[in-house]
């Protein structure tokens, strides 16, 4: 039996994201994913045959068809058959499953990918199908409406105001980096659902992301500066909007604590906040001060490839460590209405490990 692995024994060794597309030019799921897999494989030299586990995240409802994830599998080259799994949510949770798989010792390397083609439908309406099907979903409250209710509660509580939200919107769109493509406009814009304006809402895009994970003994050979996963945890809250305090995110705070986020300061945070107001909630929940660089990638405001957006946050945070631009970064992903479910990963360049006394 192999030695037990600890949280810090796994690193992100490569990340790639697609160009974000505002509409569907006839790119299939497999065609979106395939170039990214090639990119992370070429960068690390890790072949498909040497990848022990594969896990993906996507949504049938977003695609408008059942078993939509089987289409993307075409791009993986699953032959000979592969050890593979899929989560019906953001790819950040696929990364979580892959991380656990490596911790069991059953895999040393793992490929994680996620994709979304929200341009195929009306994502505002589609996400309303997440709500309780008896008392809420029949009213078709869309995701902007729900976020706007949350934003108003924040403003009422004195945690922000419309100018504060506009400042976040401007920074999000100005700050996008690297592979994300040209910046979108950063107007305050018209109210979509008041108090949220177009500038407070995410730029919904078609897109995909891929990440490679490796265990401690493999990572240094695959990547010059692996982004070690110090810890990762996710938590869910009650579903009812009226039951929760929408101005807070206790699940984010708890996940962050379990992931070790509060043991030492982070220099960077990639927060999955599709709406400016949600960044306010998350910063408060995580206690992030002005010294922390928030969403240097531009975040979900700059590009929201739904179901890949959370995985992109983890990948972007890792990439800053890969590039030597961060020593300790926090990455966050969310799912569900008004931040119902949250995942936090803490990534480090120089991991301090607790060595095992019974190690050989």
């Amino acid at each position: 039996m192999t030695r037990r692995r600890h949280a810090g024994d796994v690193a992100i060794v490569a990340f790639a994201r697609s160009e974000d597309r505002p509409y569907d030019e006839g790119i299939t799921e497999a065609e979106m994913v395939m170039p990214l897999l090639r990119e992370v494989r070429e960068r690390t030299g890790l072949s498909a045959a040497d990848t022990d586990f594969t896990c993906s995240g996507s949504s049938d409802y977003l695609a408008g068809r059942a078993f939509s994830f089987t289409m993307a599998l075409d791009g993986v080259g699953a032959w000979p058959p592969i050890s593979e799994s899929h989560v019906e949510t953001d790819g950040a949770w696929a990364l979580y499953e892959a991380w656990v798989k490596i911790l069991t010792g059953e895999a040393d390397t793992a490929l994680v990918y996620a994709y979304g083609k929200p341009s195929a439908g009306e994502v505002r309406d589609i996400l309303s199908r997440q709500l309780d099907p008896y008392c809420t979903a029949p009213l078709w409250p869309d995701r902007v409406a729900l976020a706007a209710l949350q934003a108003r509660a924040l403003i009422d509580a004195g945690h922000t105001d419309e100018d504060g939200l506009a400042a976040i919107a401007a920074r999000g769109r100005a700050g996008r980096t690297g592979t994300a493509g040209p910046p979108g406009p950063s107007p305050r814009g018209e109210y979509v659902v008041r108090p949220l304006r177009t500038g407070d809402c995410p730029a919904v895009r078609d897109g995909a992301a891929a990440v490679l994970l490796a265990a401690r003994h493999r990572a240094p050979d695959l990547c010059e500066r692996p982004a070690w996963i110090r810890g990762m945890d996710h938590r869910i809250e009650a579903h009812g909007l009226g039951v929760r305090d929408l101005t807070d995110s206790p699940s984010t705070r708890l996940a962050a604590r379990r992931a070790g986020a509060f043991e030492r300061p982070v220099d960077t945070a990639e927060l999955h906040a599709p709406f400016t107001s949600q960044e306010v909630v998350l910063r408060r929940a995580l206690g992030l001060g002005p010294e922390v660089r928030i969403n240097p990638s531009g975040g979900a405001l700059a590009a929201d490839p739904v179901m890949a957006t959370g995985l992109v946050r983890i990948g972007e945070a890792a990439d800053r460590i890969h590039r030597g631009e961060s020593r300790r970064a926090l990455a966050h992903a969310t799912s569900g209405p008004c931040l119902q479910q949250n995942l936090v990963a803490v990534l480090e360049r120089d991991l301090e490990r607790e060595e095992e006394s019974d190690a050989p």
Binding site: D60, A66, A78, L131
Partner: protein, 388 residues
């Protein structure tokens, strides 16, 4: 320090039925979860995380229903992870839960899978029209029947084999109080006289559409030691996937299935599955898949699986009972069907399968598959803790 051994200490199922009109979706999953907790002698506070699986969300018309189900499953403030790997999802969900324990990320995990197919219509959910593609011409059975004909041609199996399996599984279901179908007057003659829907598949050789849920409580060595009932130990578990359609794809005996089984046997130290494994819970949605899987999983040589069925080896009193629970042919809440196989395997080695208990079962295989015979999940559970 080695990895944590994984034990099943609680199993719960709903009463399965075509339509559970007495409960909401939350009420349905809750019924299975409470039975699993009661079996384990645990409460909600003892659960560290919930892993939940189901097949396409369109079946209930609720996107990512785990969000709404968090309260019902006591998951508030805990991790809740949603798995979807098509028909194999019930098995995959159990394996993901087992890994959380094995890696010592969590101590005690609730795994749950469900489908409430009566909220819509399974055929609608499975055949949403996709523009520019030729519509599916034949319904669910039409997808499987040509592969069954290919098996018959390859193996030379007599036409009656499918009816033998159906008769056996439906009779087994009479011993299982949770099974959806309880056909008290079932006879081989009735099966063989049932309408031929998708020749060579008869009505009585097809699975029903069910509402149901299945739950398991998984924990490590300490939890198993405290368990009021005997645990089932996980000796091996694996998932394998292959593409949907490609040249050389073997729909009769997919390579992903063979390799998945081989991985499980390697982990469990099984070298002769036919002799070393006592009982099988296989995902058999159409009766002919019993002999096909017996070959795919290494219990019979290629082309000879039907001989085991014909000789009664797979019956309740045969020496390799298959689906004593009645199987998918008697109960099919799609997303839960795989987990029911895993859970029934656990019940057998715990000696807690009630009237469908196989005496002396010490090692059992749970098997699930889905998609175009492309996704596989299996585990092998035993009465004794795994070696090492």
């Amino acid at each position: 320090m080695p990895h944590e051994p994984v034990a099943v200490v609680g199993v719960g199922q709903t009463r399965h039925a075509a339509a559970r009109r007495d409960v909401s979706i939350a009420g349905l999953v809750r019924e299975a979860a409470l039975r699993a907790l009661a079996d384990a002698g645990l409460g909600w506070a003892d659960i560290d995380a919930v892993v939940i699986g189901k097949a396409p969300d369109f079946f209930e018309g609720v996107m990512m229903p785990e969000l709404y189900l968090a309260d019902a499953l006591g998951a508030v403030g805990k991790p809740m992870l949603r798995v979807h790997t098509a028909g194999s999802v019930g098995g995959s969900t159990a394996l993901v839960a087992a890994q959380l324990v094995k890696a010592r990320v969590h101590t005690t995990v609730l795994a749950l899978a469900f489908e409430k197919q009566s909220e819509s219509n399974a055929m609608w959910g499975l055949s949403l029209p996709v523009p520019f593609q030729q519509p599916l011409l034949a319904g669910a059975g039409g997808f499987f029947a040509p592969h069954i004909r290919a098996y018959m041609r390859r193996s030379g199996a007599p036409e009656t084999i499918g009816s033998l399996v159906a008769h056996k599984d439906r009779r087994n279901a009479l011993r299982n109080p949770y099974a959806h179908l309880h056909e008290h007057g079932i006879t081989l003659e009735k099966v063989q006289a049932s309408p031929m829907l998708w020749d060579p598949v008869r009505y009585s050789e097809t699975c029903p559409s069910s509402d149901g849920a299945c739950a398991m409580v998984l924990t490590g060595r300490a939890g198993a030691a405290r368990s009021p009932t005997p645990p089932a130990w996980v000796h091996g578990g694996a998932m394998r996937s292959e593409p949907t359609l490609f040249p050389g794809k073997d729909f009769v005996s997919p390579r992903a299935g063979k390799e998945c089984a081989a991985d499980v046997y390697r982990q469990a130290g099984i070298t002769d599955p036919r002799r070393q494994i006592d009982v099988l819970e296989l995902y058999v949605p159409f009766s002919w898949y019993e002999p096909m899987w017996l070959e795919n999983l290494g219990f019979a040589a290629e082309g000879r699986g039907w001989r085991l069925t014909e000789a009664g080896v797979t019956g309740m009193d045969g020496d390799l009972p298959v689906n004593p629970s009645g199987g998918v042919l008697s109960t099919n809440p799609i997303g839960a069907s795989g987990m029911i196989r895993f859970a029934e395997a656990a019940l057998q080695v715990r000696g807690r399968a009630g009237e469908h208990q196989i005496d002396g079962a010490r090692r059992a295989l749970g098997h699930a598959y889905g998609g175009g015979s492309q996704f596989f999940a299996m585990w092998l559970v035993g009465t004794d803790p795994p070696a090492g």
